[in-house]
Symmetry: C2
Subunit: 254 residues, 2 copies
DNA sequence: CGTTTAATCTCGACT
DNA sequence: AGTCGAGGTTAAACG
Protein backbone atom coordinates (compact mmCIF):
# COMPACT_ATOMS: atom_id res chain seq x y z
CA UNK A 1 0.00 0.00 0.00
CA UNK A 2 1.26 3.43 -0.96
CA UNK A 3 -0.16 6.64 0.42
CA UNK A 4 1.02 9.97 -0.92
CA UNK A 5 0.67 12.93 1.43
CA UNK A 6 -1.90 11.15 3.60
CA UNK A 7 -4.00 13.24 5.95
CA UNK A 8 -3.87 12.64 9.68
CA UNK A 9 -6.79 10.26 9.91
CA UNK A 10 -5.61 8.22 6.96
CA UNK A 11 -2.08 8.01 8.30
CA UNK A 12 -3.27 7.06 11.75
CA UNK A 13 -5.58 4.31 10.51
CA UNK A 14 -3.06 2.96 8.03
CA UNK A 15 -0.32 2.87 10.66
CA UNK A 16 -2.52 1.01 13.12
CA UNK A 17 -3.58 -1.49 10.49
CA UNK A 18 -0.06 -2.07 9.21
CA UNK A 19 1.35 -2.54 12.71
CA UNK A 20 -1.49 -4.88 13.56
CA UNK A 21 -0.82 -7.04 10.53
CA UNK A 22 2.94 -6.88 11.07
CA UNK A 23 3.82 -5.33 7.78
CA UNK A 24 6.96 -3.49 6.83
CA UNK A 25 6.13 0.19 7.24
CA UNK A 26 7.81 3.41 6.19
CA UNK A 27 6.77 6.98 6.70
CA UNK A 28 8.79 9.63 4.91
CA UNK A 29 8.53 13.32 5.64
CA UNK A 30 8.99 15.99 8.29
CA UNK A 31 8.84 14.75 11.83
CA UNK A 32 10.32 15.21 15.27
CA UNK A 33 11.95 12.44 17.27
CA UNK A 34 12.43 12.25 21.01
CA UNK A 35 14.36 9.48 22.71
CA UNK A 36 14.63 8.81 26.39
CA UNK A 37 16.35 5.75 27.77
CA UNK A 38 19.99 4.82 28.17
CA UNK A 39 20.60 8.40 27.11
CA UNK A 40 18.26 11.08 25.81
CA UNK A 41 18.06 12.82 22.49
CA UNK A 42 15.97 15.32 20.64
CA UNK A 43 15.88 16.06 16.93
CA UNK A 44 14.71 19.38 15.63
CA UNK A 45 11.90 18.90 13.19
CA UNK A 46 13.32 17.78 9.86
CA UNK A 47 12.77 15.33 7.05
CA UNK A 48 13.37 11.75 8.01
CA UNK A 49 12.61 8.24 6.91
CA UNK A 50 10.90 6.19 9.60
CA UNK A 51 11.24 2.46 9.10
CA UNK A 52 9.28 -0.07 11.12
CA UNK A 53 10.01 -3.72 10.52
CA UNK A 54 7.77 -6.75 11.08
CA UNK A 55 9.89 -7.79 14.07
CA UNK A 56 9.05 -4.55 15.84
CA UNK A 57 12.41 -2.91 15.34
CA UNK A 58 12.27 0.78 14.52
CA UNK A 59 14.75 3.14 12.95
CA UNK A 60 14.72 6.75 11.86
CA UNK A 61 17.10 7.68 9.08
CA UNK A 62 18.38 11.10 8.08
CA UNK A 63 20.10 12.14 4.87
CA UNK A 64 23.50 10.81 5.81
CA UNK A 65 25.23 7.70 7.03
CA UNK A 66 24.49 4.06 7.65
CA UNK A 67 23.51 4.69 11.25
CA UNK A 68 19.98 5.81 12.00
CA UNK A 69 19.66 9.03 13.97
CA UNK A 70 17.30 7.23 16.33
CA UNK A 71 16.25 3.65 16.69
CA UNK A 72 14.73 0.97 18.87
CA UNK A 73 16.14 -2.55 18.43
CA UNK A 74 13.19 -4.21 20.16
CA UNK A 75 9.79 -2.86 21.03
CA UNK A 76 7.56 -4.27 23.73
CA UNK A 77 4.85 -1.80 22.91
CA UNK A 78 4.00 0.12 19.75
CA UNK A 79 1.31 2.76 19.92
CA UNK A 80 -0.19 5.25 17.50
CA UNK A 81 -1.76 8.26 19.17
CA UNK A 82 -2.31 12.00 18.81
CA UNK A 83 -0.40 14.65 20.69
CA UNK A 84 -1.92 17.74 22.34
CA UNK A 85 -1.86 19.54 18.97
CA UNK A 86 -3.66 16.62 17.31
CA UNK A 87 -0.61 15.46 15.40
CA UNK A 88 -0.11 11.75 14.74
CA UNK A 89 2.52 10.17 16.99
CA UNK A 90 4.22 6.82 16.96
CA UNK A 91 5.46 5.56 20.31
CA UNK A 92 7.89 2.66 20.51
CA UNK A 93 8.51 1.49 24.03
CA UNK A 94 10.88 -1.08 25.40
CA UNK A 95 11.35 -2.43 28.89
CA UNK A 96 14.72 -3.62 30.11
CA UNK A 97 16.33 -1.35 29.36
CA UNK A 98 13.50 1.12 29.73
CA UNK A 99 13.48 3.15 26.56
CA UNK A 100 11.04 5.22 24.58
CA UNK A 101 11.20 6.58 21.06
CA UNK A 102 8.49 9.05 20.22
CA UNK A 103 7.95 10.26 16.68
CA UNK A 104 5.65 13.13 15.83
CA UNK A 105 4.61 13.36 12.19
CA UNK A 106 3.84 16.71 10.60
CA UNK A 107 2.95 16.51 6.91
CA UNK A 108 4.12 13.08 5.72
CA UNK A 109 5.05 12.95 2.06
CA UNK A 110 4.71 9.22 1.80
CA UNK A 111 3.66 6.16 3.69
CA UNK A 112 4.38 2.64 2.53
CA UNK A 113 3.15 -0.61 4.01
CA UNK A 114 3.88 -3.98 2.51
CA UNK A 115 4.66 -7.54 3.39
CA UNK A 116 8.34 -8.26 3.25
CA UNK A 117 9.21 -11.90 3.02
CA UNK A 118 11.78 -12.78 5.61
CA UNK A 119 15.23 -13.24 4.18
CA UNK A 120 16.65 -16.53 3.17
CA UNK A 121 20.14 -17.79 3.76
CA UNK A 122 22.91 -15.34 4.38
CA UNK A 123 26.46 -16.53 4.01
CA UNK A 124 29.39 -14.68 5.47
CA UNK A 125 33.00 -15.56 4.82
CA UNK A 126 35.99 -14.46 6.82
CA UNK A 127 34.57 -14.26 10.34
CA UNK A 128 36.78 -14.67 13.35
CA UNK A 129 35.04 -17.95 14.15
CA UNK A 130 36.24 -19.27 10.80
CA UNK A 131 39.76 -18.13 11.58
CA UNK A 132 39.57 -20.05 14.84
CA UNK A 133 38.69 -23.20 12.97
CA UNK A 134 41.45 -22.67 10.45
CA UNK A 135 44.06 -22.03 13.11
CA UNK A 136 42.91 -24.91 15.30
CA UNK A 137 43.36 -27.32 12.45
CA UNK A 138 46.78 -26.05 11.60
CA UNK A 139 48.45 -24.59 14.68
CA UNK A 140 51.92 -25.28 13.33
CA UNK A 141 51.35 -22.68 10.63
CA UNK A 142 51.83 -20.13 13.40
CA UNK A 143 54.85 -21.84 14.86
CA UNK A 144 56.37 -25.28 14.49
CA UNK A 145 55.66 -27.52 17.45
CA UNK A 146 52.54 -25.85 18.79
CA UNK A 147 49.93 -28.25 20.09
CA UNK A 148 46.37 -27.38 20.96
CA UNK A 149 45.37 -27.67 24.62
CA UNK A 150 42.04 -25.83 24.65
CA UNK A 151 39.78 -23.80 22.43
CA UNK A 152 37.70 -21.01 23.96
CA UNK A 153 39.10 -21.68 27.42
CA UNK A 154 37.28 -19.76 30.17
CA UNK A 155 39.77 -18.15 32.49
CA UNK A 156 37.72 -15.93 34.76
CA UNK A 157 38.23 -12.73 32.82
CA UNK A 158 36.86 -14.04 29.55
CA UNK A 159 37.66 -16.86 27.17
CA UNK A 160 41.06 -17.51 25.68
CA UNK A 161 40.76 -18.05 21.92
CA UNK A 162 43.45 -20.71 21.69
CA UNK A 163 45.34 -22.24 24.59
CA UNK A 164 48.35 -24.27 23.46
CA UNK A 165 51.76 -25.64 24.34
CA UNK A 166 54.95 -24.93 22.39
CA UNK A 167 57.85 -27.22 21.50
CA UNK A 168 59.63 -26.28 24.74
CA UNK A 169 56.60 -27.18 26.81
CA UNK A 170 55.65 -23.60 27.57
CA UNK A 171 52.02 -22.60 27.78
CA UNK A 172 50.93 -20.28 24.96
CA UNK A 173 47.93 -17.97 25.00
CA UNK A 174 46.78 -17.00 21.49
CA UNK A 175 44.40 -14.17 20.71
CA UNK A 176 43.01 -13.98 17.18
CA UNK A 177 41.87 -10.86 15.36
CA UNK A 178 40.27 -10.93 11.94
CA UNK A 179 41.62 -7.53 10.96
CA UNK A 180 44.51 -5.27 11.92
CA UNK A 181 45.14 -5.55 15.65
CA UNK A 182 44.95 -2.39 17.76
CA UNK A 183 46.07 -1.56 21.28
CA UNK A 184 42.81 -2.91 22.57
CA UNK A 185 43.66 -6.34 21.20
CA UNK A 186 47.02 -6.15 22.99
CA UNK A 187 45.26 -5.27 26.25
CA UNK A 188 42.92 -8.19 25.77
CA UNK A 189 45.79 -10.62 25.24
CA UNK A 190 47.61 -9.15 28.22
CA UNK A 191 44.53 -9.70 30.36
CA UNK A 192 44.39 -13.37 29.44
CA UNK A 193 48.12 -13.93 29.90
CA UNK A 194 48.00 -12.35 33.37
CA UNK A 195 45.05 -14.51 34.32
CA UNK A 196 46.86 -17.66 33.23
CA UNK A 197 50.02 -16.65 35.10
CA UNK A 198 48.00 -16.15 38.27
CA UNK A 199 46.45 -19.58 37.96
CA UNK A 200 49.70 -21.41 37.40
CA UNK A 201 52.31 -22.20 40.05
CA UNK A 202 54.87 -19.36 40.32
CA UNK A 203 57.49 -21.64 38.81
CA UNK A 204 55.65 -21.83 35.49
CA UNK A 205 54.27 -18.28 35.39
CA UNK A 206 57.31 -16.75 33.76
CA UNK A 207 57.17 -19.29 30.94
CA UNK A 208 53.71 -18.29 29.75
CA UNK A 209 53.77 -16.80 26.26
CA UNK A 210 51.18 -14.60 24.60
CA UNK A 211 50.72 -14.49 20.84
CA UNK A 212 48.54 -12.09 18.92
CA UNK A 213 47.55 -13.66 15.62
CA UNK A 214 46.20 -11.21 13.06
CA UNK A 215 46.71 -10.17 9.45
CA UNK A 216 48.40 -6.97 10.63
CA UNK A 217 49.06 -4.83 13.70
CA UNK A 218 49.08 -1.06 14.22
CA UNK A 219 52.41 0.54 15.02
CA UNK A 220 51.47 1.74 18.53
CA UNK A 221 49.97 -1.65 19.27
CA UNK A 222 53.18 -3.38 18.23
CA UNK A 223 55.21 -1.12 20.52
CA UNK A 224 52.89 -1.82 23.41
CA UNK A 225 53.02 -5.53 22.65
CA UNK A 226 56.79 -5.64 22.75
CA UNK A 227 56.88 -3.61 25.94
CA UNK A 228 54.74 -6.30 27.53
CA UNK A 229 56.91 -9.13 26.23
CA UNK A 230 54.17 -10.48 24.00
CA UNK A 231 54.43 -11.67 20.41
CA UNK A 232 52.77 -10.93 17.10
CA UNK A 233 52.38 -13.41 14.28
CA UNK A 234 50.83 -12.80 10.90
CA UNK A 235 47.76 -14.90 10.36
CA UNK A 236 45.39 -14.28 7.48
CA UNK A 237 42.10 -16.07 7.13
CA UNK A 238 41.56 -17.96 3.95
CA UNK A 239 37.95 -18.99 4.18
CA UNK A 240 37.59 -22.54 2.96
CA UNK A 241 33.92 -23.05 3.50
CA UNK A 242 31.20 -20.45 3.98
CA UNK A 243 29.50 -20.43 7.31
CA UNK A 244 25.75 -20.47 6.94
CA UNK A 245 23.87 -18.11 9.18
CA UNK A 246 20.16 -18.89 9.15
CA UNK A 247 18.33 -15.62 9.71
CA UNK A 248 14.95 -16.95 10.62
CA UNK A 249 12.24 -14.81 12.15
CA UNK A 250 11.66 -14.57 15.87
CA UNK A 251 8.11 -15.59 15.38
CA UNK A 252 6.07 -16.96 12.55
CA UNK A 253 3.47 -14.98 10.71
CA UNK A 254 0.34 -17.03 10.27
CA UNK B 1 9.09 10.19 -7.71
CA UNK B 2 7.35 6.89 -7.15
CA UNK B 3 7.56 4.01 -9.57
CA UNK B 4 5.49 0.90 -8.99
CA UNK B 5 6.82 -2.33 -10.51
CA UNK B 6 9.08 -0.46 -12.94
CA UNK B 7 10.43 -2.36 -15.91
CA UNK B 8 14.17 -2.75 -16.38
CA UNK B 9 14.71 0.24 -18.61
CA UNK B 10 12.63 2.52 -16.41
CA UNK B 11 14.42 1.36 -13.27
CA UNK B 12 17.79 1.76 -14.86
CA UNK B 13 17.13 5.27 -16.13
CA UNK B 14 15.47 6.40 -12.93
CA UNK B 15 18.34 5.04 -10.83
CA UNK B 16 20.94 6.81 -12.93
CA UNK B 17 19.04 10.06 -12.81
CA UNK B 18 18.43 9.89 -9.07
CA UNK B 19 22.05 9.07 -8.31
CA UNK B 20 23.20 11.86 -10.60
CA UNK B 21 21.01 14.41 -8.83
CA UNK B 22 21.97 13.04 -5.42
CA UNK B 23 18.50 12.14 -4.32
CA UNK B 24 17.44 9.77 -1.60
CA UNK B 25 16.64 6.50 -3.33
CA UNK B 26 14.92 3.29 -2.35
CA UNK B 27 14.29 0.16 -4.33
CA UNK B 28 12.06 -2.44 -2.72
CA UNK B 29 11.68 -5.96 -3.97
CA UNK B 30 13.50 -9.20 -4.70
CA UNK B 31 17.20 -8.87 -5.26
CA UNK B 32 20.50 -10.54 -4.64
CA UNK B 33 23.39 -8.93 -2.84
CA UNK B 34 27.06 -9.79 -3.05
CA UNK B 35 29.67 -8.18 -0.85
CA UNK B 36 33.40 -8.52 -1.17
CA UNK B 37 35.80 -6.52 0.93
CA UNK B 38 36.85 -6.75 4.55
CA UNK B 39 34.90 -9.99 4.47
CA UNK B 40 32.64 -11.52 1.84
CA UNK B 41 28.96 -12.30 1.89
CA UNK B 42 26.23 -13.55 -0.33
CA UNK B 43 22.48 -13.30 0.14
CA UNK B 44 20.19 -15.75 -1.51
CA UNK B 45 17.65 -13.93 -3.56
CA UNK B 46 15.00 -12.46 -1.30
CA UNK B 47 12.95 -9.35 -0.68
CA UNK B 48 14.96 -6.43 0.54
CA UNK B 49 14.84 -2.70 0.86
CA UNK B 50 17.78 -0.99 -0.81
CA UNK B 51 18.43 2.48 0.53
CA UNK B 52 20.83 4.91 -1.08
CA UNK B 53 21.41 8.23 0.64
CA UNK B 54 22.54 11.54 -0.88
CA UNK B 55 25.95 11.16 0.79
CA UNK B 56 26.57 7.95 -1.16
CA UNK B 57 26.06 5.59 1.74
CA UNK B 58 24.21 2.43 0.87
CA UNK B 59 22.32 -0.09 2.96
CA UNK B 60 20.23 -3.15 2.25
CA UNK B 61 17.61 -4.00 4.83
CA UNK B 62 15.84 -7.26 5.43
CA UNK B 63 12.76 -7.98 7.49
CA UNK B 64 14.46 -7.95 10.86
CA UNK B 65 16.70 -5.84 13.02
CA UNK B 66 18.27 -2.43 13.07
CA UNK B 67 21.37 -3.60 11.24
CA UNK B 68 21.26 -3.83 7.47
CA UNK B 69 21.99 -7.16 5.79
CA UNK B 70 24.60 -5.45 3.66
CA UNK B 71 25.91 -1.93 3.52
CA UNK B 72 28.56 0.47 2.34
CA UNK B 73 29.32 3.44 4.61
CA UNK B 74 31.07 5.39 1.88
CA UNK B 75 31.11 4.92 -1.84
CA UNK B 76 33.78 6.25 -4.16
CA UNK B 77 31.96 4.95 -7.19
CA UNK B 78 28.31 4.18 -7.84
CA UNK B 79 27.36 2.45 -11.08
CA UNK B 80 24.17 1.16 -12.63
CA UNK B 81 24.69 -1.60 -15.19
CA UNK B 82 23.21 -4.80 -16.53
CA UNK B 83 24.48 -8.27 -15.75
CA UNK B 84 24.96 -11.10 -18.25
CA UNK B 85 21.25 -11.95 -17.96
CA UNK B 86 20.30 -8.35 -18.65
CA UNK B 87 19.20 -7.67 -15.09
CA UNK B 88 19.70 -4.22 -13.59
CA UNK B 89 22.59 -4.05 -11.16
CA UNK B 90 23.75 -1.43 -8.72
CA UNK B 91 27.46 -1.43 -7.90
CA UNK B 92 28.79 0.51 -4.93
CA UNK B 93 32.55 0.57 -4.77
CA UNK B 94 34.90 1.92 -2.16
CA UNK B 95 38.67 2.22 -2.04
CA UNK B 96 40.56 2.01 1.22
CA UNK B 97 39.38 -0.37 2.33
CA UNK B 98 38.66 -1.92 -1.02
CA UNK B 99 35.07 -3.02 -0.93
CA UNK B 100 32.31 -3.76 -3.36
CA UNK B 101 28.60 -4.21 -2.86
CA UNK B 102 26.75 -5.52 -5.86
CA UNK B 103 22.97 -5.62 -5.97
CA UNK B 104 21.05 -7.41 -8.68
CA UNK B 105 17.40 -6.45 -9.00
CA UNK B 106 14.84 -8.95 -10.23
CA UNK B 107 11.29 -7.62 -10.29
CA UNK B 108 11.27 -4.49 -8.13
CA UNK B 109 7.97 -3.76 -6.48
CA UNK B 110 8.73 -0.14 -5.86
CA UNK B 111 11.27 2.55 -6.46
CA UNK B 112 11.30 5.88 -4.68
CA UNK B 113 13.48 8.89 -5.36
CA UNK B 114 13.12 12.16 -3.52
CA UNK B 115 15.06 15.04 -2.12
CA UNK B 116 15.64 14.68 1.59
CA UNK B 117 16.59 17.88 3.34
CA UNK B 118 19.66 17.35 5.46
CA UNK B 119 18.98 16.92 9.11
CA UNK B 120 18.79 19.78 11.53
CA UNK B 121 20.13 19.95 15.04
CA UNK B 122 20.49 16.73 16.92
CA UNK B 123 21.08 16.86 20.62
CA UNK B 124 22.28 13.88 22.60
CA UNK B 125 22.47 13.91 26.35
CA UNK B 126 24.28 11.49 28.59
CA UNK B 127 27.49 10.84 26.69
CA UNK B 128 30.63 9.88 28.50
CA UNK B 129 32.17 13.24 27.62
CA UNK B 130 29.28 14.97 29.38
CA UNK B 131 29.69 12.69 32.38
CA UNK B 132 33.33 13.75 32.55
CA UNK B 133 32.32 17.40 32.66
CA UNK B 134 29.66 16.76 35.27
CA UNK B 135 31.98 14.78 37.49
CA UNK B 136 34.82 17.25 37.11
CA UNK B 137 32.59 20.05 38.33
CA UNK B 138 31.30 18.08 41.27
CA UNK B 139 33.91 15.58 42.37
CA UNK B 140 32.63 15.59 45.93
CA UNK B 141 29.43 13.90 44.76
CA UNK B 142 31.57 10.79 44.43
CA UNK B 143 33.28 11.26 47.77
CA UNK B 144 33.64 14.16 50.15
CA UNK B 145 37.01 15.82 49.99
CA UNK B 146 38.08 14.80 46.49
CA UNK B 147 39.93 17.49 44.57
CA UNK B 148 40.72 17.43 40.87
CA UNK B 149 44.35 17.18 39.86
CA UNK B 150 44.10 16.33 36.16
CA UNK B 151 41.54 15.50 33.49
CA UNK B 152 42.42 13.09 30.68
CA UNK B 153 45.92 12.54 32.03
CA UNK B 154 48.09 10.51 29.63
CA UNK B 155 50.02 7.70 31.33
CA UNK B 156 51.52 5.70 28.49
CA UNK B 157 48.80 3.06 28.26
CA UNK B 158 45.98 5.51 27.66
CA UNK B 159 44.46 8.52 29.37
CA UNK B 160 43.22 8.58 32.96
CA UNK B 161 39.69 9.99 32.95
CA UNK B 162 40.03 11.82 36.26
CA UNK B 163 43.14 12.12 38.40
CA UNK B 164 42.40 13.45 41.88
CA UNK B 165 43.45 13.63 45.51
CA UNK B 166 41.31 12.52 48.44
CA UNK B 167 40.82 14.09 51.88
CA UNK B 168 43.72 12.03 53.26
CA UNK B 169 46.02 13.25 50.52
CA UNK B 170 46.05 9.97 48.62
CA UNK B 171 46.15 9.98 44.84
CA UNK B 172 42.92 8.71 43.26
CA UNK B 173 42.53 7.34 39.73
CA UNK B 174 38.94 7.51 38.48
CA UNK B 175 37.60 5.65 35.45
CA UNK B 176 34.17 6.62 34.14
CA UNK B 177 31.73 4.41 32.23
CA UNK B 178 28.41 5.65 30.92
CA UNK B 179 26.76 2.23 31.25
CA UNK B 180 27.21 -0.89 33.32
CA UNK B 181 30.90 -1.53 33.89
CA UNK B 182 32.31 -4.87 32.73
CA UNK B 183 35.53 -6.69 33.49
CA UNK B 184 37.22 -4.78 30.75
CA UNK B 185 36.55 -1.51 32.57
CA UNK B 186 38.07 -3.00 35.72
CA UNK B 187 41.12 -4.07 33.79
CA UNK B 188 41.42 -0.62 32.26
CA UNK B 189 41.33 0.99 35.70
CA UNK B 190 43.86 -1.56 36.92
CA UNK B 191 46.26 -0.60 34.13
CA UNK B 192 46.03 3.07 35.01
CA UNK B 193 46.50 2.47 38.74
CA UNK B 194 49.54 0.30 38.08
CA UNK B 195 51.00 2.92 35.76
CA UNK B 196 50.58 5.60 38.40
CA UNK B 197 52.10 3.40 41.10
CA UNK B 198 55.14 2.82 38.93
CA UNK B 199 55.63 6.53 38.41
CA UNK B 200 55.37 7.43 42.08
CA UNK B 201 58.05 6.85 44.77
CA UNK B 202 57.55 3.44 46.45
CA UNK B 203 56.47 5.19 49.63
CA UNK B 204 53.36 6.62 47.97
CA UNK B 205 52.56 3.70 45.67
CA UNK B 206 50.52 1.77 48.20
CA UNK B 207 48.33 4.79 48.84
CA UNK B 208 47.09 5.07 45.25
CA UNK B 209 43.37 4.39 45.01
CA UNK B 210 41.33 3.39 41.97
CA UNK B 211 37.65 4.21 41.60
CA UNK B 212 35.32 2.95 38.90
CA UNK B 213 32.45 5.41 38.48
CA UNK B 214 29.49 3.99 36.57
CA UNK B 215 25.72 3.57 36.91
CA UNK B 216 26.20 -0.13 37.58
CA UNK B 217 28.74 -2.93 37.54
CA UNK B 218 28.49 -6.58 36.50
CA UNK B 219 28.87 -9.19 39.19
CA UNK B 220 32.09 -10.74 37.86
CA UNK B 221 33.52 -7.27 37.38
CA UNK B 222 32.72 -6.37 40.97
CA UNK B 223 34.43 -9.52 42.21
CA UNK B 224 37.49 -8.81 40.10
CA UNK B 225 37.49 -5.21 41.31
CA UNK B 226 37.48 -6.19 44.96
CA UNK B 227 40.17 -8.77 44.38
CA UNK B 228 42.34 -5.98 43.03
CA UNK B 229 41.59 -3.68 45.93
CA UNK B 230 39.78 -1.17 43.74
CA UNK B 231 36.52 0.63 44.42
CA UNK B 232 33.18 1.10 42.72
CA UNK B 233 30.95 4.12 43.09
CA UNK B 234 27.55 4.66 41.53
CA UNK B 235 27.52 7.56 39.12
CA UNK B 236 24.62 8.10 36.74
CA UNK B 237 24.49 10.48 33.82
CA UNK B 238 20.76 10.78 33.58
CA UNK B 239 18.31 11.50 36.38
CA UNK B 240 16.27 8.43 37.30
CA UNK B 241 12.90 10.03 37.88
CA UNK B 242 12.94 13.66 36.82
CA UNK B 243 9.29 14.47 37.48
CA UNK B 244 8.62 12.99 40.90
CA UNK B 245 11.82 14.33 42.46
CA UNK B 246 12.98 17.56 40.81
CA UNK B 247 16.42 16.90 42.22
CA UNK B 248 19.22 18.60 40.35
CA UNK B 249 20.01 16.10 37.61
CA UNK B 250 23.43 16.09 36.09
CA UNK B 251 21.96 16.46 32.64
CA UNK B 252 18.81 18.24 31.67
CA UNK B 253 16.71 17.23 28.72
CA UNK B 254 16.11 20.67 27.24
C1' DC C 1 17.94 -13.73 32.68
C1' DG C 2 22.95 -11.50 32.80
C1' DT C 3 27.60 -11.39 30.83
C1' DT C 4 30.92 -11.21 27.26
C1' DT C 5 32.64 -10.43 22.67
C1' DA C 6 32.69 -10.03 17.45
C1' DA C 7 31.57 -6.73 13.96
C1' DT C 8 32.34 -5.63 6.63
C1' DC C 9 31.02 -2.66 13.43
C1' DT C 10 30.09 3.14 12.45
C1' DC C 11 31.59 7.54 13.40
C1' DG C 12 34.07 11.24 15.03
C1' DA C 13 38.43 13.15 16.80
C1' DC C 14 43.10 13.55 16.94
C1' DT C 15 47.87 12.91 15.35
C1' DA D 1 45.88 8.62 6.06
C1' DG D 2 46.28 6.01 10.28
C1' DT D 3 44.93 5.11 14.88
C1' DC D 4 42.11 5.21 18.87
C1' DG D 5 38.00 4.94 21.49
C1' DA D 6 32.93 5.76 22.34
C1' DG D 7 28.47 4.01 21.15
C1' DG D 8 21.46 4.66 23.27
C1' DT D 9 26.54 0.55 19.83
C1' DT D 10 23.75 -4.24 17.68
C1' DA D 11 23.51 -8.96 17.80
C1' DA D 12 24.85 -13.53 18.96
C1' DA D 13 26.78 -16.99 21.98
C1' DC D 14 27.14 -18.94 26.36
C1' DG D 15 26.22 -19.98 31.34
Amino acid sequence: MILETPDKATLEDALRLAIESREFVQVIGPCEVVYVGRAASLTESGEYVVMLKPDGSLQVHGARGVKPINWQPKTDDLRVTRDEDDRVMLLAERRSPSELVQITFFEPRLMIALELRDEKVFQLHGSEAQMHEALKRNLSSLEIGLTLLEHELPVGVGDIDIYARDAQGCVVVIEIKRSKASQEAVHQLERYVSAVRLQLPPLFSAGVRGILAAPDISKPARKQLERLGLEFKVFTALPEEPKTVPQTGLFELA
